[in-house]
Amino acid sequence: MPDQLIYAMEVILNGLMAGVLYALVALGFVLIYKASGIFNYAQGVMALFAAMTLVGIMNGQVPFAHLINAIFGGHITHFGWNIPALLAIILTMGVMVLLAWAVQHFVMRHLVGQEPIILFMATIGLAYFLEGVADLMWGSEIKTLDVGLPQGINLWIDETTYNIFGYGFFIDNLDIVATIIAALLVAALVAFSQYTKQGRAMRAVADDHQAALSVGISLNFIWVMVWSVAGFVALVAGIMWGTKSGVQFSLSLIALKALPVLMLGGFTSIPGAIVGGLIIGVGEKLFEFAVGPLVGGATENWFAYVLALIFLVFRPQGLFGEKIIERV
């Protein structure tokens, strides 16, 4: 087998893994958009917030320590304990549910029936607010996150591929774990939305508010639930990205990478988010590998957006999105 082809295979594999991480962020967007018609600009910041909270809880940091010290003149920073990763994740999930409730109670509840652009702007406000709160709560320095996920080269794949092709593939263990977790997450989401009462209610609310009310569904409850689920997805994405590249402000920018994924997959489709993520992941890695050297590299920065733009021209509803037909 020619070397180039073998390298390409490795690139594709790595692209698939990166795509899974993009898909994870995109999923959070789709969930909220489907259920409430809100494009949640704050999804990326939610992932950052979740990751920061998780690190903070694990390290036993005192939330709002700076604020407390500034007001009361103390020097507290830590409780002096460390909390095991699993428990910390559960606690963080609790915080995300609280956040979901707060978002619904203090913001979204008052905007029911407003134009989508108003709701969108509210989520932009939310994003900046949340970013500030996250810094205020846990401090703005870069943190490392280690919940015990395996990292580094997977030796088994390295050896096996070396024996077959005479060239060992470099696949990161973390990417493999991320893929498995993403698959589980999607399976859980599908089971939730198809087979549970709450899932059925969620789909109902997404479809028609009045009809949902008339069969006894509380819109408030469903929206808190949807924001909680989005918070959960943000937490998972935050853990993966945080472990990979540290918990820092740039984490919230991965949300921007989710945009082309959504344009490709469609804003309303869970499978779309996944396939879109994979296409972008593979596409940008492969493009960088094949075309990058010819144009001086760094194509990964713009490839996804150009691809999305081309898609917008020919298929504005995305691969799996609901077709927009307007009768005149």
Binding site: T196, A201, R203, D207, A211, S214, V215, G216
Partner: protein
């Protein structure tokens, strides 16, 4: 003629029970516009009660008050002998009041079966984990609710479209699916907002038959709004007539038909 507490027997020999719902001096305003003005009437167990009136008479507003979508400024709503505090529409639905809408509010993206199943949401008691993993009582519960739903689907003769997404159905069938969803909730009171609106003669006859059958078979108490006088007179046991937000008549179809004010409202007499 009507006994206030006991109920009565209809012309076709059905026994009508006590008062299920009573509206007392309801007034509803939108800003300066008075949509409903000091209206009182009751709905009795097992009867088909119609609210009729010309366009803009406030019929739909009245239905929305009953189903909790509007909260009246004045007056009281009594349900099963208890005064109802101001409630959200979903709370009213959970009390056993189901409704359909004038402009059809179905879950367009879901199949007919799924749509009707949403009517059973409040009968599902197992928790989210059991349902998601199909454990414990979840399976039995789903089967039980599915059976109830299949019975209604059979009853309304929509078996052939069970799996069809609602968005692909013609208007008349959508109306029927909406009725099925409302019935699935086993309502103590069923509200129908213009069930025959926009239908052709054949569809109207079908719908008429279904409404009568539902009342007959399940003993469901039904309150409906309708435009079509002919249909209403054939269908209902008692009729409330509204005009310009006021009640101008209340009684059996025959009584109402001979009421001068009603005739004036429908034929148009100058209000001077």
């Amino acid at each position: 003629m009507l006994d206030a507490s006991e109920g009565y027997v209809t012309e076709d020999g059905r026994k009508i029970g006590g008062v299920v719902m009573e509206m007392k001096n309801i007034t509803l305003r939108f800003g300066g516009v008075v949509a409903i003005k000091d209206i009182s009437f009751d709905i009795r167990e097992g009867e088909i009660r119609a609210i009729i009136g010309p366009n803009g008479a406030g019929k739909s507003s009245m239905l929305n008050v009953i189903s909790g979508f509007y909260v009246p400024q004045e007056g009281e709503v009594w349900f099963h002998g208890k005064k109802r505090p101001p409630m959200k529409p979903y709370e009213v639905a959970r009390q056993g009041i189901a409704r359909t809408f004038q402009n059809i509010a179905l879950f367009e993206g879901m199949s007919v079966l799924d749509n009707v199943m949403t009517g059973r949401l409040n009968f599902m008691k197992t928790n989210i984990l059991q349902q998601g993993l199909w454990m414990g009582k979840a399976e039995a519960e789903e089967t039980e609710n599915r059976e109830a739903v299949e019975k209604i689907i059979d009853f309304l003769e929509i078996q052939h479209i069970r799996k069809t997404p609602v968005s692909r159905l013609p208007y008349g069938l959508k109306k029927r699916v909406e009725l099925a969803r409302a019935l699935a909730a086993e309502p103590k009171l069923l509200l129908l907002d213009e069930p025959m609106a926009g239908m052709n003669v054949e569809e109207k006859e079908d719908m008429c038959r279904f409404i009568l059958d539902v009342n007959d078979e399940f003993g469901t108490t039904i309150a409906l709004i309708e435009h079509d006088m002919g249909v209403v007179m054939d269908l209902s046991d008692r009729v409330v007539v509204m005009d310009y937000g006021k009640k101008i008549g209340d009684g059996t179809p025959d009584e109402v038909r001979n009421n001068k004010e009603v005739i004036d409202a429908y034929l148009g007499v100058s209000h001077d």
